[in-house]
């Protein structure tokens, strides 16, 4: 059976006129420079204030000292070890939440019983501060990675579920009917019509879930120890090591930024194809 999507109207190559793109790039660069200027100003203010002696360096170490510590951590391998562990937990939990959330969301959207059963659970659990369940998870799953991963997945899955349900239900019914009338089986319908059409909104849900996974990973590490950036920060605070604490903040901020930017790039990539497939041919 040929791919159903072949029956959908296709679009030609996107019209990236050279000059237009160049202008956009230049403008983007300018904005980027201006943006980093403000950031630089803030960092400079930090440095000057910290060195002025107005506050003890214990409360506010100079930014240069903090940067030096980040560099030191990178050289000693500590940064990679801790960052690696935290990212591993966050991304693994996120992946499970993504797969499980999409699966459950699609099931809920397509099956009335599943929907009836899970709807109140999801809608009650969504606004709850699920982090409150951490001591319960510690009781159930011990103090190694299992409890951390379960907590991360438990927190990250809900935005994925709600986004998937909304997206799946929002797929244009006409496309489904026409595909069905062309003889599409349920499986093909799901993978080649529904999921691709629902993709933008699902991706939005994933974009909410990723920072959630990161936040929960760090909080669980702060509470439970066992390597990772969160645990390193708590150890640093026990040792009255403020440069260590601030270095942890910088490292986490950069890691978070990279993840979010990475996700945004991924979205753009995936949706580029999506847009191309959806645009009607010009006559």
């Amino acid at each position: 059976m040929a791919r159903i999507s072949a029956a959908l109207p296709r679009r030609g190559a996107a019209p990236f006129a050279g000059t237009r793109r160049g202008q956009d790039a230049l403008r983007g660069l300018g904005r980027g420079l201006l943006g980093s200027l403000t950031l630089m100003l803030v960092l400079a203010a930090w440095e000057i204030f910290a060195r002025s002696g107005a506050v003890s360096n214990f409360l506010l170490p100079p930014f240069s000292v903090v940067l030096a510590r980040v560099w030191q951590d990178a050289l000693s391998g500590d940064l990679l070890a801790n960052l690696g562990v935290t990212l591993y937990r966050a991304l693994l939990g996120f992946a499970i939440a993504a797969a499980g959330g999409v699966a459950l969301g699609v099931l809920m959207a397509r099956n009335a019983v599943m929907r009836w059963f899970f709807d109140p659970i999801v809608s009650v659990a969504f606004p709850m501060p699920k982090i409150a369940f951490l001591p319960i998870f510690m009781l159930w799953f011990g103090l190694y990675d299992a409890s951390k991963l379960t907590m991360i997945t438990f927190n990250a899955i809900f935005p994925v579920i709600t986004a998937t349900v909304a997206a799946t239900e929002g797929v244009d019914k006409e496309i489904i009917w026409s595909a069905r009338s062309l003889g599409a089986g349920e499986r093909q319908l799901l993978w080649q019509i529904i999921l691709p059409a629902a993709l933008p909104q699902i991706l939005t849900g994933l974009q909410v879930a990723l920072p959630v996974a990161m936040i929960v990973a760090i909080v669980t590490e702060m509470l439970m120890g066992g390597q990772g950036l969160g645990a390193a920060m708590i150890t640093a605070s026990r040792f009255a090591d403020s440069p260590g604490v601030f270095a942890g903040i910088v490292e986490i901020a950069v890691a978070g930024l990279c993840l979010v930017k990475g996700m945004a790039l991924l979205r753009r990539r995936l949706l580029l194809w999506h847009q191309e497939a959806k645009e009607p041919t010009t006559v």
């Binding site: 201006l34 943006g35 200027l37 403000t38 950031l39 803030v42 409360l59 929907r115 009836w116 059963f117 899970f118 709807d119 109140p120 659970i121 999801v122 809608s123 009650v124 969504f126 606004p127 709850m128 501060p129 699920k130 982090i131 409150a132 369940f133 001591p135 319960i136 510690m138 009781l139 935005p159 709600t162 349900v165 909304a166 239900e169 909104q201 939005t204 849900g205 974009q207 909410v208 920072p211 990161m214 936040i215 760090i218 909080v219 702060m222 509470l223 969160g230 920060m233 708590i234 605070s237 403020s242 604490v245 942890g248 903040i249 986490i252 901020a253 978070g256 930024l257 993840l259 979010v260």
Partner: protein, 278 residues
Amino acid sequence: MAPEPSRLALGGRTGALLPPRAAARRRPAAPLFALLWRYTPILLLALLWEGATRSGLVSPLVLPALDRVGAAWWGLLASGDLTRNAAISLARAAAGLGLAVLCGTPLGILMAWFRPIRIAFNPLVQALYPMPKSALIPVMVLWLGFGSASKIVLILIGCMLPVTLSAFNGARGTEEVLVWSARSMGASRRRVLWEIVLPSALPEILSGIRTALAFAFVLLVATELIAARAGLGYMIGWLGDGGVYDAMFAVVLTVALLGFAADRAWLLVMRRVLRWRE
């Protein structure tokens, strides 16, 4: 500006979490019955819980029986411990969120209204947006100690972003035509801001506060679990440490339900305010 995905994920500004099925819209008859039917799965879960512990399927050490959790909850309420700590926690959340709304809403609107302010603050917002605010917990404790101050400031910082972003988006979405016609009638910039832009941005702002409300609870519980001397999170911690699991479960459920109730209460407020606006 960074995208505001949470609004979409929350299912639109009316607040309905899951959009009603296109084919089967609920009939207005017997709404109470519909409500009960809707939440029956939760009742089923509760029965499952009680059954599992009674039958001995699950060890009571791991999952205390639901009736024991209920009894423990009652005991905590009677002793005043629960109300005292709940009051402290809720006051912290309210203070932090309130300050965030007070500071974030004008900031967002001004960012939409005045280009220099937007250029100045945009990079900060972009940089702080993806940072997990929980990373600031050790610093807050360092600067402000174990008391309420560290919680309130952390919640303020964590909630500023969604509030500012939604105020920005809402203000930006104000229909140009309204602004032009008001200006052409001689209204000052300030009047336009107050009487056109702010009301127009209101739905978006209220929705942003809803997101911020959820953040406030998460940050409150996280901080209280890690570094506190009072509050519901602290209570969960020392009950769990002390092995009083039925009471611990009771407080965890209380916190979870408070978060849920706050969200629903805010939805009611939103609907009220928006209806009055019409």
